[in-house]
């Protein structure tokens, strides 16, 4: 099969891929190809018609499609960036061959000097969380319903219940309400919401939608179309209390029960994953365990803000440029260790001489704690699993470390 040589191949033309392409072009890469399986670039942003995007990156409030368009428009400045839509990558090899089916009847093989993985994530479906009951119609993941409503202009039902209080679930609660669909409840298995606080206020409280914390669905009811769900409170170890179950009728059930980075292609390329982020292990340059293969955006770890995706993806694009141009990266890295109440930190390896922003996620919410990184302690008013903590290690700060960096949250009284 004829191989098409290319400097930089980016898989996915969503916010991560677009920013990475621009970062690489700015850094002088001559030939950049973005492949995307959808029929237009922009990724999931195209169906996120609500506002709240760009406050950090553009210092103004944009909708998802507006945010995406800012990047798509920038592509005109860089003729070295090409996009092929309706192109589905089917295979990547560790020596950076990429096989892709393109929607106009061809199977192509590219030999890339560098690859950036920017495939994003997918939603966890019903089967993965094993909700008992029947299998009627009217059960959707939040993203599917968002696509059906915002792209296709179709209504899923009349009375909905949402399981999971992550950001997409909250956004969809408001969206459904605005379209005249009654949202009877948002259920959350945990004792706190995993979404951004601003979304709880703006999407639930403003519309008086009840949020049931520490509740889950124990049975789906309905033969052809869903007619209701059995709901039960859960104990502190998340076990349903069956004798306190109650029925809530509905004709639509929307699941917002977690996002999974889509790393099937990464694994084919031999990229090692972090069990905590479910994305590739990366260093300060967003380079994975396979030289010349980089990863950024939701494929690396699930973000709460797209602005952070753009920032980190630009870094990845610049790093890929440096790799293609033969520049030497730092060869020594500090491994990041997870301390108390830290679920994940990205990047997992910090270059000893490179200023690096750490994106930190916690296991559980708490108040009155300080983030402890080496000698540095930063007071946190409140931390929750739904909100990323960001911390930038400057070259000055990096000097104090010798072989690893431990990140932890410590109760303030315990700090010496």
């Amino acid at each position: 099969m004829h191989e098409i040589p290319i400097d930089l191949l980016i898989i996915g033309a969503g916010p991560a891929g677009l920013a990475a392409a621009i970062g690489a072009a700015e850094a002088g890469v001559k030939e950049i190809l973005l492949l995307d399986r959808q029929d237009e670039p922009g990724g999931i942003l195209q169906q996120c018609i609500h506002n709240g995007f760009g406050l950090k990156y553009f210092k103004e409030e944009l909708t998802g499609p507006e945010y995406a368009q800012r990047f798509i428009d920038q592509l005109d400045v860089y003729p070295q960036i090409n996009i092929k839509t309706e192109s589905m990558v089917t295979k990547i090899t560790p020596d950076r061959k990429v096989y892709a089916l393109n929607g106009r009847s061809k199977l192509n093989c590219y030999q890339a000097k560098a690859i950036i993985l920017a495939m994003g994530c997918r939603e966890r479906p019903r089967g993965a969380i094993n909700i008992p009951g029947s299998r009627p119609s009217g059960i959707y993941t939040a993203g599917t319903v968002q696509h059906l409503m915002n792209i296709y202009g179709l209504s899923p039902g009349k009375e909905a219940i949402i399981l999971g209080s992550g950001d997409i679930g909250l956004i969809m609660a408001r969206r459904l309400t605005l379209e005249g669909i009654k949202v009877k409840a948002v259920l959350e298995r945990l004792p706190y919401s995993t979404g951004l606080n601003r979304n709880i206020v703006q999407c639930l409280e403003d519309f008086k939608i009840p949020l049931y914390l520490s509740h889950t669905i124990i049975e789906i009811i309905g033969k052809k179309r869903i007619t209701g769900v059995q709901i039960a409170p859960v104990t502190t170890d998340l076990q349903p209390v069956y004798n306190k179950a109650f029925l809530l009728p509905c004709d639509t059930l929307i699941l917002s029960v977690g996002l999974i980075p889509e790393n099937e292609l990464s694994l084919m390329a031999g990229v090692k994953l972090d069990p905590n982020t479910c994305g590739p292990l990366v260093n300060s340059f967003y380079e994975t365990s396979v030289p010349g293969i980089f990863a950024c955006g939701n494929v690396a770890h699930v973000h709460d803000l797209v602005d952070d995706v753009s920032i980190e993806s630009k870094v990845a694009g610049q790093a890929a440029a440096a790799y293609i141009q033969g520049d030497k990266f730092s060869s020594s890295f500090f491994k990041v260790n997870l301390g108390r109440n830290i679920r994940s930190v990205i990047p997992q390896y910090v270059a000893t001489n490179q200023p690096t922003t750490l994106y930190i996620r916690t296991h559980f919410p708490e108040k009155g704690v300080s983030l402890k990184i080496g000698k540095n302690r930063i007071q946190q008013r409140v931390v929750t699993p739904g909100e990323t903590i960001r911390y930038t290690l400057s070259p000055e700060k990096l000097k104090e470390f010798t072989n690893s960096i431990t990140v932890s949250l410590e109760e303030e009284t315990k700090i010496d």
Binding site: T90, E123, P125, R126, A128, N130, K223, R225
Partner: protein, 477 residues
């Protein structure tokens, strides 16, 4: 009024196998199916195992037809292009005390006429299947067992039968049957059909259908089986179908590799009263998971992608009931077909034809019988073949289901072959069966169904009327 020689009630694996076998002969044949698609009853939820026949009581119809059916499959799957693998089965003994029971089972298998056994020591067992628990005492490997995709088989049998002149009426529910000495008048929601003979392959409704002619000899007990499916990334973890020793009312809870690379865990065996109860339960999972984990410790609940339940249509005799009705010899009951019904199905078809001949049916072979069904599965083509196909029809280069990599061309073809619902497309193509469970492709498939069938999005159903997936347009309220 449609007049036929033979009317088959039920388009599951039994009805479809009989129809296809009869389509070799000069006969007018009609299948009526109450659901919106074929295979939508018990067959849809079958485990897909082609059993060896080791489990069946010597002398029973089950033993006779299972062993015979097993030998017929390689040719059938070849002709019909159905996913199949002769992967063999291993029955394991958990402890030395179970080894003598295993020996008895082998003896039973030999009596049933099966060959190709190997008794396995603990070490040999682990050599064949390294991921099995090291706590098992030994096992027996039976060569002839295999796996097949049960609904694919039924679609293939039906399509091939139709290609050979059989008529199929879906969404056609039998309401009444009158016999006037020479023929039956079968009243359905879609009109009255005249037929000389009836084959009752109505599965869970077999007793109700028999009762329509006054035959009260049959009782059907729905027995529910829950199955849980794991991500395809585990392909290769187990190659052969793993059985514990059988329990009182089932072959036990199994680890089943599917032909498509998933692993299936189950089934349970629970008597239920409601013949439409297809719920999975927390209790079912709690029964299955520790059981399979004790056989294969590396199995993880986090690899689950979906689950389903099916109802076995068990009869009241502990054996298949395949006989002329005591009320009329022109009415043949083929009911109580629980496990190993799928394996036995081609042999059941042969057996039923013998019964038809006993009541004077003259069989004259057709001059032209086409035994083949051809189907395009992109994943099974070589790169060159894919290129040619994509050039001819670019729809084959547009991937709709990203997890299973199913193209728009395959989905359009499935709709043209008879799928009218989301489930119909899913079962024919695997689109939506992968790890995202339709999260990304459902909306595209809705559009394709609308285009191909010329219907509106809110008329698209999951599996027939009442299961519409959308309510209205947001644009014109």
């Amino acid at each position: 009024m449609i007049e036929t020689d033979i009317l088959i009630i039920g388009a599951g694996v039994v009805g479809a196998s009989i129809a296809r076998e009869l389509s070799r002969y000069e006969l007018q044949i009609l299948i009526v199916e109450k659901e919106v698609d074929v295979a939508f009853g018990t067959s849809k939820a079958n485990s897909g195992i082609l059993h060896s026949g080791i489990h069946d009581l010597p002398g029973s119809l089950k033993a006779q037809l299972c062993v015979r059916g097993n030998t017929l499959y390689p040719k059938i799957v070849e002709e019909l292009n159905v996913s199949y693998k002769n992967n063999g089965q291993i029955i394991v003994a958990r402890s030395p005390e179970e080894l003598p029971i295993l020996k008895k089972l082998v003896q039973q298998g030999r009596t049933n006429g099966i060959t190709g056994f190997s008794e396995l020591s603990k070490e040999e067992l682990l050599q064949l299947e390294p991921n099995l628990s090291t706590n098992l005492a030994g096992g027996v490997f039976v060569e002839s067992a295999g796996i097949v995709i049960p609904f694919d088989l039924v679609f293939a049998l039906t399509e091939n039968a139709i290609a050979n002149g059989v008529q199929l009426a879906i969404q056609t529910k039998v309401l009444n049957i009158v016999y006037d000495k020479k023929q039956f008048l079968v009243t359905t929601n879609r009109g009255i059909f005249k037929t000389k003979k009836i084959i009752n392959a109505a599965g869970l409704n077999g007793a109700k259908i028999a009762a329509l002619i006054g035959d009260d000899s049959i009782t059907i007990h729905p027995r529910k089986g829950e199955e849980y499916i794991l991500d395809r990334k585990l392909e290769g973890l187990v190659k052969r179908t793993i059985f514990p020793l059988p329990s009182e009312n089932s072959k036990g809870i199994l680890i089943i590799p599917t032909t498509e690379g998933n692993i299936m865990l189950g089934p349970t065996a629970q008597e239920v009263n409601d013949s439409t109860d297809l719920t999975t339960t927390a209790a079912g999972w709690q029964e299955i998971f520790p059981e399979v984990k004790s056989l294969m410790p590396s199995l993880k609940a986090t690899d689950l992608i979906t689950s389903f339940a099916g109802l076995r249509a068990s009869g009241n005799t502990d054996d298949f009931i395949i006989a002329h009705s005591p009320v009329s010899r022109q009415f043949i009951n083929v009911v109580g077909i629980d496990s190993p019904g799928l394996t036995a199905a081609p042999a059941i078809a042969e057996y039923v034809i013998e019964l038809l001949q006993e009541t004077g049916l003259q069989l004259k072979e057709k001059k032209v019988f086409n035994p083949y069904r051809r189907l395009i599965r992109m994943q099974t083509l070589t790169r060159e073949e894919q290129e040619i196909l994509m050039k001819k029809d670019p729809a084959y280069s547009r991937i709709v289901c990203r997890c299973e990599q199913i193209s728009e061309g395959e989905i359009r073809a499935a709709i043209r072959r008879g799928a009218t619902t989301l489930d119909g497309v899913k079962l024919r193509t695997r689109s939506g069966m992968g790890r995202c469970q339709g999260g990304f492709c459902t909306q595209k498939i809705i559009t394709l169904l609308c285009e191909e069938l010329n219907i509106l999005p809110w008329e698209v159903t999951k599996n027939g009327p009442g299961s519409e997936v959308l309510t209205r347009s947001l644009r014109n309220k």
